[in-house]
């Protein structure tokens, strides 16, 4: 493999208060490649994944030791802008969590908060992303209806579309497979 590493974790320890959830994890992720983490439930897959875009920052009383690098930047350096980091490293969560907004607004959300004002571009990205998540044919006629009216599987694909819309460099997917058919997975990789 001569592809460069995209994300590297070195001796990563993670604590929920006094409880150590992750022990000395060193793992490299290649660019433009799917890496799957497999393990029994409760072994820390989600916790590890959430370390890779600093989502665990949101949980009070947690602590990180060790290093996570994205390209040559230290993710946990104090100079790093965590908002910018999360733009680069998108995430799809275990349970579908669409906003109580319309389907269109859900996908456009990431673009709008990132300051994109060109409405034609937003509309194009929304369509592209929903197509990439293999959801377009099911929702193209009701883009302005609430996302909460979709089925669980559709909601999950909507969340994937939402994550893809801002063209992140990396997408972290926390077991979305229960709601995702292989075809959609294939399309997202391509």
């Amino acid at each position: 493999m001569d592809k460069p590493f995209k994300i590297t974790s070195k001796n990563l320890n993670f604590f929920y208060g006094d409880f150590q959830a992750l022990h000395e994890i060193s793992l490299d992720f290649y660019e433009r490649q799917v890496t799957a983490l497999i393990g029994p439930s409760g072994c820390g897959k989600s916790t590890f994944l959430r370390c890779l875009n600093r989502m665990n920052d949101l949980i009070p009383g947690t602590r990180v030791e060790g290093k996570v690098m994205i390209e040559d930047q230290d993710m946990y350096a104090s100079s790093l802008d965590v908002v910018m980091l999360r733009r680069r490293v998108g995430m799809v969560f275990q349970k579908p969590n669409p906003f109580p907004k319309s389907i269109y607004d859900n996908v456009a959300y990431g673009l709008i908060v990132n300051g994109i004002k060109d409405k034609a571009y937003v509309a194009r990205r929304v369509e592209e992303s929903i197509k990439q998540a293999a959801l377009w044919d099911e929702v193209k006629d009701r883009l302005h209806e609430s996302a909460l009216g979709l089925s669980g599987g559709q909601q999950q694909r909507l969340c994937i579309a939402r994550a893809l819309a801002i063209k992140p460099e990396v997408v972290l997917m926390d077991e979305p497979a229960s709601a995702l058919d292989p075809l959609a997975t294939q399309k997202i990789i391509a």
């Binding site: 875009n53 989502m55 949101l58 009070p60 908002v83 910018m84 999360r86 733009r87 998108g90 995430m91 969560f93 349970k95 969590n97 669409p98 906003f99 109580p100 907004k101 959300y109 990431g110 709008i112 908060v113 990132n114 609430s146 909460l148 009216g149 969340c159 939402r162 994550a163 801002i166």
Partner: protein, 315 residues
């Protein structure tokens, strides 16, 4: 309910007697299950009675107001100022005054209350400062309304030289409803699932964007309901405004926020205790109360309609 309980009791006792001779163990369990049923019925009855008392209280209040006050409600009553030492005429200045004070209180208290709740719930780190602020707010909620009135008199009217005016009264009412608004807003914010916040932050939104675009819109129905309920409660108070915004009598309608006004609750108090013809103006007192209740219920109704409309839009 009581009749059914009685039957259960009887059959329970009979069952127990006949069973004792044959199966001692099952008799125990049968009587046990009967006892549980009786207990069930009893607790249900207690809760039901409690609920009925609640409904009854509202019904009786409204019944009294309507039967005794409806004769007073005329076009003149609603559109004219009081006349002949307040024994005749209407209550227009009071309606306008209470309306101005309530709107003023909303304008003062809603932004501050919502902003405080957002700070407490979304930004502040748990710790001693947060506990102190919470303690302060809870104590503010327990301060008697007459103390708010005196505070308003000393601070807004005298020190800030606002005089007895709409603005001083509205500020006092606003200060009084702050704890209610903060409490309601915090509850509404807590009800917003954390997954919304995570999803938004995960898309590279800042904390403020998350609060403004996702958290607050989701919490808005709850915030508005709580806020308007708090204000409408305050709108019916006499003590906070009697030194700060409302006067005994003024036939002129306010033209600026520095004018003094009449107000419905204070007017009722005046008519019922300090008027020249207390007995002769009874129907006016009930009529005024009826208008006040209608105003407060009307505000609540607006809040409820608005909330259900917002909820429907989100689903």
């Amino acid at each position: 309910m009581a009749v059914i309980s009685g039957k259960n009791l009887k059959s329970g006792a009979a069952g127990k007697q006949s069973d004792i001779t044959t199966f001692a163990d099952s008799a125990q369990s049968v009587s046990g299950s009967h006892r549980r049923k009786i207990f069930q019925a009893l607790t249900f009855s207690i809760f039901r009675v409690a609920a009925v008392i609640n409904g009854l209280a509202l019904f009786i209040i409204v019944y009294f107001m309507v039967t005794r006050g409806w004769r007073a409600i005329t076009w003149t009553f609603l559109t004219q100022p009081p006349m002949d030492s307040m024994t005749k005429g209407g209550i227009l200045p009071c309606i306008v005054g209470t309306f101005c004070l309530s709107i003023g209180a909303i304008i003062v208290a809603m932004p501050i209350g919502i902003a405080s709740a957002v700070y407490l719930n979304e930004y502040a780190r748990p710790g001693r400062t947060l506990r102190l602020i919470r303690l302060g707010i809870n104590n503010l909620a327990g301060v008697p309304s007459v103390v708010f009135g005196l505070f308003g008199l000393a601070f807004f009217v005298v020190i800030l030289k606002m005089g007895v005016s709409i603005i001083a009264g509205a500020l006092t009412l606003g200060a009084m409803s702050l704890p209610v608004i903060i409490g309601a807003t915090e509850e509404a914010l807590k009800a917003v699932p954390d997954t919304y916040r995570e999803a938004s932050l995960g898309l590279g939104a800042t904390k403020w964007q998350t609060i403004w675009r996702v958290v607050l819109p989701s919490a808005l129905p709850g915030i508005l309901t709580g806020a308007i309920l708090g204000i409408s409660r305050a709108a019916g108070e006499t003590a906070p405004i009697m030194f700060t915004g409302a006067v005994f009598f003024t036939p002129i309608l306010p033209t600026s926020i520095f004018d003094e006004v009449m107000a419905l609750p204070y007017h009722i108090y005046v008519l019922a205790t300090a008027g020249t013809e207390i007995e002769a103006t009874r129907h006016l007192q009930y009529g005024t109360s009826l208008v006040l209740i209608a105003l407060v219920l009307g505000m609540n109704l607006i809040a409820i309609i608005y909330r259900s409309r917002l909820r429907r839009r989100m689903q």
